[in-house]
Amino acid sequence: MNVTRRQFLQITAAGLGSSSLALLGFSPQPALAEIRNFKLARTTETRNTCPYCSVSCGVLLYSLGDKSKNVKTEIIHIEGDPDNPVNRGTLCPKGAGLLDMIHSADRLKYPEVREPGASDWKRIGWDEAFERIAKHLKSDRDANFIKTNDAGVTVNRWNTTGFLASSAASNEAGYLLHKVARGLGVVALDTQARV
């Protein structure tokens, strides 16, 4: 019997606990793969996109936990999505390390502030972070907003606070940031995409 790894995964997932592999007619070779498949068989599969280069390879995220309420899911394995017409299941050396990026020791976990002149970070809550940032923005905007230029033309701009946007965040995030920035009158804005 010749089955692909994915088909095999589905068959074993369905048959687990009720039938032995021999009854399903498997030869010993795919049976050897069972140890690895067992690990993924009880995971949840989620379709996603590699965030690195612009090939934007399809990836499958395998997580423990079924995403129900009060269950903390954890991604334990990532591989290329064989359905994706571009990468067809493959990943490159960059993408092969995706799991380690998600679980990097350098992931930020809490909002922090470095006070002027201080030599280290201080953890703060989201409320405090939002409040302090909003006050900074308002005070700079109110102080430096330009309604008309020297020729009397309405210009309604704020050019003393700058915004830089990511090329790795979603379209939705980029769009919302742009909408907010222009709504505030920001002209000093640019993206990673330029460099």
């Binding site: 996603n48 280069c53 090939v55 934007s56 995220l61 899911t73 994706n84 017409p85 571009v86 493959t90 960059k94 390390g97 995706l98 799991l99 990026m101 990097s104 992931r107 930020l108 976990k109 470095r114 002149g117 201080a118 989201w126 900074h136 923005l137 308002k138 700079d140 905007r141 109110d142 309604k147 230029n149 033309v153 309604n156 701009r157 704020w158 003393t160 606070t161 700058g162 830089l164 990511s166 090329s167 790795a168 965040a169 979603s170 379209n171 939705e172 995030a173 769009y175 919302l176 940031l177 742009h178 222009r182 505030l184 002209v187 804005l189 640019d190 990673q192 995409a193 330029r194 460099v195």
Partner: protein, 809 residues
């Protein structure tokens, strides 16, 4: 990309130049290997280094960094002088026959209209000769000395193989061999695809590098063809998407230009950006600009935007100056910026001239960094031995570091290099208290809005009036935003030819940008994305990879802009009568009643071939521009200029004109010239690049990638190593006029010297993935070395060609 990743398999020749797809885009590069295996396609690589792309090529030619236009200008001359162009295509689909003003000229390295004080051109003489009706005049015989083809011939006549070799360092025989490969695709049924990346954009002549290749592809008739096109292999997985969202000071979403002080009223703003046709019967699709812009205003300002108030035109800020990333840091360095928000961007590492960036950041009052990872930028104030030497207590900037979730922890869309918008699903929550970018942006904005509602302040109207229809105000749902970008009918939208026919009822999602209106009855946050979420649902989430076309189009996988079209300009894949140039790779054809076939036609579907509607519908003339009559600030035709740090000290094309050494229209801030090195002190050409194991400054935080490439290194050739007494594996110091890095030396045959203008030029290769944070050994930021100067048109910095010196450390 005008074409797409899978389409590379349809090519007969793949040219990789200004990029290194095998290492920077490995899974896309597989389609090059597919073309080689199944079509017997050839791969030609032109690069300063013998890269892994070169290692599997059929032919490799070396080139000095920063000499691409000299090389490609030579290719243009070769094609024209050996009559290797696709005649019917060039005559019908390009502006080859158009007449240019008598006043146009080029002498001693400068086009007409140059103003040395302003370092800019008056483009008045670079225009078409117009007739009484305002249409461009053409000469079908192509013999008029002022027609574009003749001007092109004269301009590139100077780029002989001898001159090319003298400037580029490419041996003449190698150059001619590449020309032969390329010329072979001038046959109507042969195509070349060109895959380039930052190796072309990271120059002060970056835009013109790409223009040169566009000219070549037009001469060969390769635009619009399956297996053809000019294909930018872009950086991040959503770099195409953020570009489309127009997050640039000079843009609004969907490439709509943003207003500046000269656009006093909405009427003036629209008039300036709504082009008039310059040839009869053409689509001139840009004439729809008012529909796109009005729909954007309705998406952003909702009910507040009415015809009476010009759809809130005055709520949009007008810019008075440049605010690209170099300009931003220049302003910051001069103390003119108080606050800065960096979302998923690490400028301390990725902007040139780190010392200048350091000084600029220290002048801010507050800095907000939103990122999943601990970036260098967020800790620019922290002392990290000699990797980041700062006086922490003297830096008064208040810095906020906000944890964002990453791709695996959120829903939403990314747009790949093929323009395909693809939905992705959340696999898990982020660590600790991390929030999505959306929640962070909304969290800050809703607080700010509440402060304005309570206390008032400067011009509160757009802050309070910004359309915010999200069910949970501080947690917008990605789906709500995808739908908003795509667009909906605010009132019944009827057929423009038959007002009794309703195309979309009020409240419905629109099916495409043809349904957008300029009267306020439609809203769309990004017109080119219109239709990605139609009444049929979220088309970006489609996952049917089937490909009945056989060309790899997969039209039911995601949604590609515009209009789910997979190959741009595909009308040009057919002859004037609508018959495909190559029936075996037909993209579309005229079936007697309409355009149809293996793609969404890039043409009005009922435009009969005899009507003469030309394929380049976004251009006013309907044809493609060999001669760039507008948009290019530094010349209508590409010309070789040296990098701003040149190893030669002169431009061999114009040795006697000091104004024409480097791009005469590049912007130079005060102090920048003084920060540039000269060849006597810094004799080696340096170029920065990426490794297959790493992605930017990101994967150094991932243990697996850090293990595979743990330590910073630079690459040099054997000859230079002998000259300088540098041993393979030894430590070296690399200095430019602006800074230095220390690294391990890799001495390799992959790097060689170039014979340029009668002398030998050595190169130092600098992979740039290290920094003072991450799981790798700490390293120096490579951009400590790079110059603070950008492309004349779009200010992308010149990371790929600058001068250094190197010595054992």
């Amino acid at each position: 990309m005008t074409n797409h990743w899978v389409d590379i398999k349809n090519a007969d020749l793949i040219l990789i130049m200004g990029g290194n797809a095998a290492e920077a885009h490995p899974c896309g590069f597989k389609w090059v290997m597919e073309a080689k295996a199944t079509r017997k396609a050839k791969l030609v690589v032109v690069d300063p280094r013998f890269t892994r792309s070169a290692a599997v090529s059929d032919f490799y030619a070396p080139i000095r960094p920063g000499a691409d236009i000299a090389f490609l200008g030579g290719v243009i001359r070769y094609l024209l002088s050996n009559d290797k162009i696709h005649h019917d295509y060039v005559k019908a689909y390009t502006n080859a026959s158009f007449l240019i003003n008598e006043g146009f000229g080029f002498a001693d390295g400068l086009f007409t209209g140059y103003n040395a004080d302003k370092r800019s051109y008056d483009q008045a003489s670079w225009q078409y000769q117009l007739d009484a009706q305002g249409f461009a005049q053409i000469d079908d015989t192509l013999q008029n000395p002022q027609c574009v083809l003749q001007i092109l011939k004269r301009h590139y006549d100077r780029y002989t193989p001898e001159v090319v070799s003298q400037v580029t360092g490419t041996p003449q025989a190698d150059f001619l061999k590449v020309c032969e490969f390329i010329a072979d695709t001038s046959a109507p049924d042969r195509t070349m695809t060109i895959c380039y990346a930052l190796g072309w954009t990271h120059h002060t002549v970056g835009t013109q590098n790409i223009r040169t290749m566009a000219i070549i592809q037009l001469l060969l008739g390769n635009m619009g063809m399956a297996g053809g096109g000019v294909n930018a292999l872009r950086g991040h997985s959503n770099v195409q998407g953020i570009t489309d969202q127009g997050f640039y000071t000079e843009m609004l979403p969907g490439y709509l230009g943003s207003p500046s002080d000269s656009d006093k009223t909405r009427e003036e703003y629209l008039a300036k950006r709504t082009p008039k046709p310059v040839r009869p019967n053409q689509m001139n699709y840009g004439q729809n600009f008012p529909k796109w812009h009005t729909s954007l205003m309705k998406a952003w300002f909702g009910n507040a935007a009415t015809a009476d108030n010009g759809f809130c035109y005055d709520w949009l800020p007008k810019k008075e100056a440049a605010y690209d990333v170099l300009a931003l840091f220049e302003q910051m360095d001069r103390g003119r910026m108080n606050g800065f928000i960096c979302q998923g961007f690490n400028p301390q590492a990725s902007v040139p001239h780190k010392a200048k960036v350091d000084g600029a950041l220290a002048k801010l009052k507050f800095l907000v960094v939103i990122d999943p990872l601990a970036t260098e930028t967020a800790e620019f104030w922290k002392h990290h031995k000699d990797f980041n030497e700062v006086k922490t207590d003297a830096i008064q900037t208040e810095v906020f570091r906000l944890p964002a979730t990453c791709f695996a922890e959120q829903d939403g869309t990314f747009t790949n290099s093929s323009r395909v918008i693809q939905w992705h699903w959340k696999g898990a929550d982020g660590p600790g208290e991390a929030l999505s970018d959306l929640d962070i942006i909304a969290g800050v904005f809703t607080r700010l809005r509440a402060l304005y509602a309570k206390d008032g302040g400067a011009f509160p109207e757009p802050v309070l009036g910004l359309s915010w229809p999200y069910r949970i105000a501080n947690q917008p749902n990605p789906e709500e935003l995808t739908m908003e970008m795509s667009g909906k009918a605010l009132a019944d939208v009827t057929d423009l030819k038959d007002s009794t026919k309703v195309l979309a009822k009020a409240g419905e999602q629109l099916s495409g940008f043809a349904q957008l209106r300029d009267d306020g009855t439609t809203a769309s946050g990004n017109w080119i994305y219109c239709g990605m979420w139609s009444q049929a649902g979220n088309l970006t989430a489609r996952r049917d990879p089937s490909d009945p076309t056989g060309l790899g189009q997969s039209h039911n996988w995601g949604f590609s802009w515009p209009a789910n079209r997979r190959i741009l300009y595909n009308r040009a894949s057919c002859d004037a009568a609508g018959k495909p140039w190559d029936a075996s790779r037909a993209v579309i054809k005229w079936d007697g009643a309409k355009w149809a076939g293996n793609d969404i036609p890039d043409m009005r579907p009922d435009a009969k071939p005899e009507e003469g509607v030309m394929p380049f519908i976004m251009n006013q003339e309907g044809v493609a521009r060999l001669f760039g009559v507008e948009r290019m600030l530094d010349g209508p035709l590409p010309e070789h200029y040296e990098p701003y740090e040149t190893p030669l000290g002169l431009n061999p094309m114009h040795p006697d004109n000091p104004l024409a050494v480097s791009n005469p229209a590049a912007r130079i801030y005060p102090g920048v010239l003084e920060s540039l090195g000269k060849a006597d002190e810094f004799p080696y050409v340096a170029t920065t690049y990426r490794l297959v194991e790493h992605f930017h400054f990101w994967t150094k935080h991932a243990v697996l990638n850090a293990i595979t490439q743990p330590e910073q290194f630079v690459e040099i050739g054997e000859e230079l190593a002998r000259e300088k007494g540098i041993r393979n594996g030894g430590r070296v110091r690399v200095r430019s006029k602006r800074g230095q890095i220390l690294a391990v030396a890799v001495v390799t045959k992959r790097i060689r010297s170039f014979g340029v203008n009668g002398r030998k030029v050595h190169m130092v290769g600098i992979p740039f993935h290290w920094g003072f944070r991450g799981a790798t050994h700490p390293g120096h930021i490579a951009n400590s070395l790079t110059p603070f100067i950008g492309d004349a048109n779009i200010q992308t910095p010149e990371f790929k060609a600058f001068l250094v010196t190197i010595e054992p450390a």
